[in-house]
């Protein structure tokens, strides 16, 4: 089932000038990798709801971590605890947590670390060993949370020299060489997911990718949010990012362009 209605904001936290978290209580079972569709306006604009992944799940309290990139996310950033917000969810398939038994690798890029953080916390509570490699343009967010659940944590930054220099994919080969992972999860910009996929393909491995596409309904009705998968009746297959996804296996996705 999915909740659809208005809830009070329990808590907000500002991480830096553009990233923040907020939490609400939702009377539904929520999985890491699922998302909620937020009404991000009280004026009618922007018209469409904003999909936001779950970044933390504790009993019924769900946390979201959000980067301000436009009007909708700015609206959400202005909300304070006690304010109301309308949302629908949980939506989407979420990550499959049953395929990892011992040791897992998490890969996150930019605001893509948000859902990965929720996943890491859940896996750790299942006694899985979690290694993480997370990359940022400048400063990391949610670093403390990753430190808490990660056995090995690699933080990479393009610009901040306190951290390893460059992109996550530059460190991936070595990490994959050093340890045996029974599952790999990744979320981040498309270019990163594609690079991760290419690297894993060449090693005959695959990851659970949490993908993103512009959405309208978020519930599978409008067909604007497609992901192209291999095989299927047309040689390829268009599936709904919001319904069959947003988690897809890296070896089934066709990256366009």
């Amino acid at each position: 089932m999915a909740f659809n209605g208005t809830v009070k904001i329990l808590n907000t936290e500002q991480h830096d000038h553009e990233n923040f978290s907020l939490s609400v209580a939702i009377p539904e079972t929520v999985k890491p990798g699922q998302f909620f569709n937020f009404l991000a306006t009280d004026s009618g604009m922007p018209l469409l709801r904003r999909p936001i992944s779950v970044s933390g799940i504790e009993d019924n309290v769900i946390t979201f971590t959000i980067k301000v990139v436009g009007k909708g996310t700015q609206y959400l950033a202005n909300l304070k605890s006690g304010d109301e917000v309308a949302l629908t969810g949980p939506l989407g398939n979420g990550f499959d947590l049953t395929t990892t038994k011992k040791r897992t690798l998490l890969i996150g890029g930019g605001i893509g670390v948000a859902p990965i953080k929720g996943l890491g916390e859940a896996l750790r509570s299942m006694d899985i060993i979690v290694d993480s490699v997370i990359g940022f343009r400048e400063n990391p967010i949610l670093e403390a949370a990753f430190l808490k659940f990660s056995t090995q944590l690699t933080v990479v930054s393009e610009k901040n020299d306190t951290y390893k220099k460059g992109y996550v994919t530059q460190y991936l080969e070595q990490i994959l060489d050093e340890n045996e992972y029974d599952e790999i999860y990744a979320c981040g910009p498309k270019v990163m997911l594609r690079a991760v996929t290419d690297m894993l393909n060449s090693r005959g491995k695959r990851a659970q990718l949490l993908m993103e596409e512009k959405m309208a309904c978020g519930i599978g009705a409008c067909l604007v949010c497609t992901c192209k998968l291999k095989d299927g009746e047309f040689g390829s297959k268009m599936v709904r990012m919001c319904k069959e996804g947003p988690m897809f296996y890296s070896d089934e996705v066709i990256f366009d362009e």
Partner: protein, 306 residues
């Protein structure tokens, strides 16, 4: 006033209430079952069907615009046979009318679909003439009076079902098209389909949609839709199913006062998954406030001398 009469008769297609959902915005209903009681919907116009399954368009399929959206889904659908086998039985569980929205590349394709559906358990066929006409260089069927005449006549001959013809707003004179549709035996006219629109990513210097343009819908187009519904209302006497940007009960009433007998919610379903229920309640509230007992009284009920 708890004895409001919400029934509307669309020339043989009788709806329990005038709130329907627009083709392409409600799938085959399944996705909304968690959010609302499908029995509450006057009719469901299903995702646009084609003879064969279609994969739809490549690339980005949506652009958000000021109070609107442009879509380029491209009729992704499982085909009419899958619809008959799997979706009709599902929808028949509910007390709502089923409208099969049909789409073709050629008149023959439309006719073939109408023939197939004629013996199936659907309450109405909605002929979507906004499709690009292959024979006519890709211009929409619905923009050329001669082509409209040909396709409506042919489909009318192919089926005894209640027939709705859905008009495109992208024409100079919608009255002319509406009259042809009426003269060729349609039972009802629905409008508006989406308005052609385009958007460019100025940093990539590319149209955002692969096919460049797509269909604009949502509140932005409401004033255009109200005008066209009113035009058609003045031109024909068959019933009108009005749509374009409806978000609230007040919007719905505006369409009915302009001349619609019933209305459809499209983009509104995306913004608010229970839009159907909220719009229905809004209509009821209006009727009570205005002390109007029957929703069918609203059609064209304007305080003006024409």
């Amino acid at each position: 006033m708890n004895n409001l009469d919400l029934k509307v008769d669309l020339n043989g297609l009788i709806l329990d209430n005038p709130v329907t959902v627009a083709s392409g915005t409600f799938g085959f209903g399944r996705e909304f079952e968690p959010y609302l009681d499908l029995n509450e919907i006057g009719a469901i116009s299903v995702k646009g069907l084609t003879l064969e399954p279609r994969q739809g368009n490549e690339g980005v399929r949506i652009v958000e615009t000021p109070m609107g959206m442009i879509n380029s889904v491209g009729l992704q659908n499982p085909g009419v046979h899958h619809f008959i086998e799997h979706e009709i039985p599902y929808l028949r569980q509910f007390n709502t009318k089923i409208i099969a929205n049909i789409n073709g590349n050629t008149t023959q394709e439309y006719v073939r679909m109408a023939e197939i559906l004629n013996s199936e358990d659907v309450d109405s066929i909605e002929l979507n003439i906004s499709c690009p006409n292959v024979k006519n260089g890709g211009l929409a069927f619905g923009t050329n009076p001669k082509v409209v005449e040909e396709v409506v006549k042919a489909v009318r001959n192919a089926t005894d079902k209640h027939l709705i013809v859905k008009l495109t707003p992208n024409v100079t004179d919608i009255k002319e098209i509406a009259k042809i549709v009426e003269a060729n035996g349609a039972n009802c006219i629905s409008l508006i389909n989406t308005v052609t629109g385009m958007a460019i990513d100025i940093y990539q210097r590319k149209p955002i949609l692969k096919r460049k343009s797509g269909g604009l819908s949502g509140p932005a187009v409401k004033p255009i839709a109200i005008k066209l519904v009113h035009d058609v209302y003045q031109a024909v006497s068959i019933p009108i199913l009005g749509m374009g940007g409806i978000m609230t009960g007040e919007d719905a009433v505006e369409f009915m006062l302009a001349g619609a007998d019933a209305i459809a919610i499209g983009t509104g379903n995306f913004v608010n998954p229970t839009a159907v229920i909220d719009v229905k309640k809004g209509i009821e509230k209006y009727l009570e406030y205005m002390e109007i007992k029957s929703v069918s009284k609203l059609k064209g009920y304007l305080n003006t001398v024409e």
